[in-house]
């Protein structure tokens, strides 16, 4: 197969396209940071980017940062503050336009699990019990999911990751769907897209159930449905997503200078 880029690169570009110039944006570490800095390098030079630790004005040097406060991102920042500033004053407050988070498991209402994998069908039950496999916990993603005006979920498209219902809600999507977020008092607007290695899902405006909105040149509706753990509906107007332009791919590869997205 002669793809123009890897699946991960396509996912990063599709995510970056969701970010608009001038927005106040927060990126996590890893792939989501590359997606964000790609957007800044390509079509959103005025994006006001920050990290969870309160690092402002930086673009990474020397490749993918090891972490949010790491030296690769500290080397050319204009301001360092704190977690309460970035995640609290600027995100949980409702000021942040867009965040990008990852997921180990996501469900049809965009709820995200990054906490653990449980046996017995992934059902924890009414008593807390430790996971069979412990993952990373919520980190700042819960704060982004709770407070940002909208957020984008980036996730590898595999059946085990796309569940009817996540085992554990680490970061809230639309909860039980409909107006549940409002009823529970969450300030932010919820997930606007799930961008995957196979395509893009977006929520139905009423039910908030995620539907297939687009596929890549190298994927298909059938492929995506087979890799989704619920009976995925197709949105009206769903279509193939444009391939990366030469300029997009060049910008992404400048940001991802160590090729982290080209490893698989």
């Amino acid at each position: 197969m002669t793809r123009p880029c890897t699946r991960q690169e396509m996912m990063a570009i599709a995510t970056g396209r969701e970010i608009r110039d001038g927005e106040l944006a927060i990126f996590g570490v890893g792939l989501s940071m590359l997606a964000g800095f790609f957007a800044q390098a390509h079509h959103a030079p005025g994006v006001r980017a920050m990290t969870e630790g309160g690092v402002y004005g930086a673009t990474p040097v020397g490749g993918l940062p090891w972490g949010i406060e790491c030296n690769r991102i500290s080397a050319n920042a204009t301001s360092f503050t704190s977690a309460i500033d970035a995640l609290g004053c600027l995100v949980a407050s409702g000021r942040c336009d867009v965040g990008v988070i990852g997921a180990a498991q996501v469900d049809k209402y965009g709820n995200v699990n990054t906490t653990g994998v449980w046996d017995q069908g992934g059902v924890i039950g009414t008593r807390y019990r430790p996971p069979k496999t412990r993952l990373n916990g919520a980190g700042g993603a819960n704060d982004i999911a709770s407070g940002a005006k909208r957020f984008i979920i980036m996730v590898a498209h595999e059946p085990k990751r796309f569940a009817e219902r996540v085992s554990y809600i680490s970061s809230p999507g639309y909860l039980e769907g409909g107006d549940a977020r409002t009823r529970h008092g969450l300030r932010g607007g919820g997930p606007s897209a799930i961008v995957t290695t196979l395509g893009i899902l977006r929520p139905d405006p009423e039910t908030r159930e995620f539907q297939l909105d687009g596929w890549y040149s190298f994927s298909s509706i059938a492929d995506i449905r087979a890799n989704t753990g619920w009976d995925l509906k197709i949105a009206p107007g769903a279509q193939e997503i444009p391939e990366p332009s030469v300029a997009e791919l060049a910008a992404l590869r400048r940001v991802d200078e160590t090729g982290a997205l080209r490893k698989n």
């Binding site: 972490g67 360092f80 309460i84 609290g88 819960n142 680490s170």
Partner: protein, 322 residues
């Protein structure tokens, strides 16, 4: 001018720690500015049954958990960023040896702020409507939990939000870039929640990569975010966060980060790591030998070295600190 509050690492651990204590550290993100050398010394002195308060997991919590020294922990993120899952911590959690209470990165910081301000609770617009609120590892039968993040009614609107429990750790071991012998400290890089932690904890020990003359603090008082009056003791220990980074002073040691996390994935690996990297040095010199003098030199030449330049003139040499 030294010693002031300067004491040895062994003395600091001996004087301020005990089995079963609420021990707070980390307090920066997982790969930087973590007072891990204090955690190594906790293990050298055999501390156990710790209740760990780490804003995020770090290699320190990963190590303490792998070594079986932690029975309860609270944190907002339990991974190692791009270095993957924290194998030592996850083994302890999965086996049930360690009860890990989950919060988010904002709520951990707000809980420290609440402790610092002496508030009975902290308003929460995050963590609500998630399993972080509904499930408690410390109170497993309380489901949906009403004790961990209960609701509180806003008297202005009549609507409910969450209430976070404040944190007041027994001890905070805080990594800082620069401290003076009186206990004034400068952090380079994000504070993360070290400011709040330094006011929330009952006792504060600073672990500083370098010691500077107080004249440095008088030149840059706005950088002194931890003033001496909240600090009990200062420990000088170069490369105190190794293998993690300290912006301005040294980079992440990628090789050792991977080696360490791999070792902590098994009991045997952990025993070997403890033998080789915890019990094996006797002082700062042998510690730096362990890292490797070449590596010490190369990690010191990172892209953020320029951040240290304004302060180099005030750094006190090793001879002045004994």
């Amino acid at each position: 001018m030294p010693p002031g509050k300067l004491i040895s690492l062994a003395e600091a651990v001996g004087r301020t720690s005990w089995d079963g204590m609420q021990y707070a550290s980390g307090a920066a993100l997982p790969v930087g500015s973590d007072a891990i050398v204090f955690g190594r010394e906790l293990l050298r002195q055999g501390r156990k049954d710790l209740h760990a308060i780490f804003h995020c997991n770090s290699q320190q919590l990963n190590l303490l958990a792998a070594a079986g020294a932690v029975s309860r922990a609270e944190c907002g993120f339990s991974g190692l960023e791009v270095f993957g899952f924290a194998n030592g911590l996850r083994r302890a959690v999965e086996s049930g040896r360690l009860a890990l209470e989950d919060y988010s990165n904002l709520s951990m910081a707000l809980r420290l702020l609440g402790g610092a301000l002496g508030w009975p609770f902290v308003p929460a617009t995050v963590n609500i409507a998630s399993d972080i609120q509904a499930r408690s590892a410390f109170a497993p039968d309380d489901y949906p939990s009403r004790s961990k993040i209960p609701t509180v009614t806003d008297p202005f609107s009549g609507r409910e939000i969450g209430a976070l429990p404040p944190l007041v750790p027994d001890l905070a071991a805080i990594h800082v870039s620069l401290a003076d012998p009186l206990g004034n400290a400068i952090m380079l890089g994000t504070e993360w929640s070290r400011f709040e932690l330094s006011r929330a904890a009952k006792r504060v020990v600073l672990i500083a990569d370098a010691i500077v003359d107080t004249a440095c603090m008088r030149q840059y008082p706005n950088l002194v975010r931890i003033p001496d009056l909240v600090v009990e003791a200062v420990v000088w220990w170069p490369f105190a966060a190794w293998p993690q980074s300290s912006p301005g002073l040294y980079d992440v040691d990628e090789e050792h980060m991977k080696l360490m996390n791999l070792a902590l994935a098994t009991e045997d690996g952990t025993a070997a790591y403890l033998r080789d990297y915890v019990e094996s040095y006797s002082d700062i010199d042998t510690y730096l030998d362990l890292i490797g003098r070449d590596k010490v030199a190369s990690l010191s030449q990172g892209p953020t070295s320029f951040l240290l330049d304004p302060y180099r003139q005030w750094i006190l040499p090793a001879e002045a600190l004994s």
